[in-house]
Amino acid sequence: MNDDDLRLDGNAAAGLLTEVFAVEMTTALGTCAHCGATNALGTVQVYVHAPGTVLRCPACTNVLMTIVRSHEHLHVDLSGVRRVEIAG
């Protein structure tokens, strides 16, 4: 396996993001709190082969969001996102 294989994109987090936000989110725009880059969440880097799902900025690779499913909860850390713009 090469390095690239574990890195997916926002499409891989689409279902989980809908659970968190209750709306379709891959077309939503997210602004990175670290570098300010704004991208559709469908295009951000996503790592799912981990204890949780991690979304990273495609420009600076800083963590945008971390989502962990425990027994009864979804733990969502949004501190890497300054702003989200949801269409409609």
């Binding site: 396996m1 690239d4 499409n11 379709e24 077309t27």
Partner: protein
Amino acid sequence: MSSATGATEAPGPRGAATWRSAELVERRGETPNASTLTFDVSGWPGHHAGQHLDVRLTAEDGYQAQRSYSIASAPEDGRVALTVERFEEGEVSPYLVDEMQPGDVLELRGPIGGWFVWHIADGGPLLLVAGGSGVVPLRAMLRHRHANASHVPARLLVSARRAEDLLYSAELAELAEADDGFELLATLTREAPAGWTGFTRRIDREMLEEVAWSPRELARTFVCGPTAFVEAAADALVGLGHDPALIKTERFGPTGGSET
């Protein structure tokens, strides 16, 4: 049954968050390693070409496994179809590809995704670039196009290891022969049969330059497959002058889908 014909909004989140019972109607082998499964899904809200869904299996002891698969059927097809590739070490794919029988049930949730979708109203030309099982959501787009008798110019470039690994080869050849503006191109990266007239190497900039329209045509482009494939293709297209804003990508993980 599908109610999404002509719909322009993604089905609502509450509908998409519900697990629905689905009964297998037909399992058809596509290649030695992949099968297409067609389901009747109670209350399916409809979908858009390019979307995916979650599948959940429950064993008798209560053990559950969940995977994501791209929807292989067009919204107009009525029933929901998935094409699953067998991953030898997998837990779910061997069951779906080799064991599940008509009448058996599983649960589906979706449709999911709003980014990687195409409607005929979006127009074209439409450039589709697929690596391996990445062709599945793109086939849904082509079926959607055909179901609406659209003449939007469309080209599919599909990459596979060998001819026997090409998914939907008969169906796609038939669509290409319909001469409605759809062209099919393929490249085999390991081994080609005698008489093969397609490409015989991994996709690269030269191949994409040959296959793609001029950047001036502002083609809507969808690239799907393993990460390395997707990034090589997308980077090459941008390098050829194509507008990144018109290129949408979907990366599949090493097992072809995603595990949760």
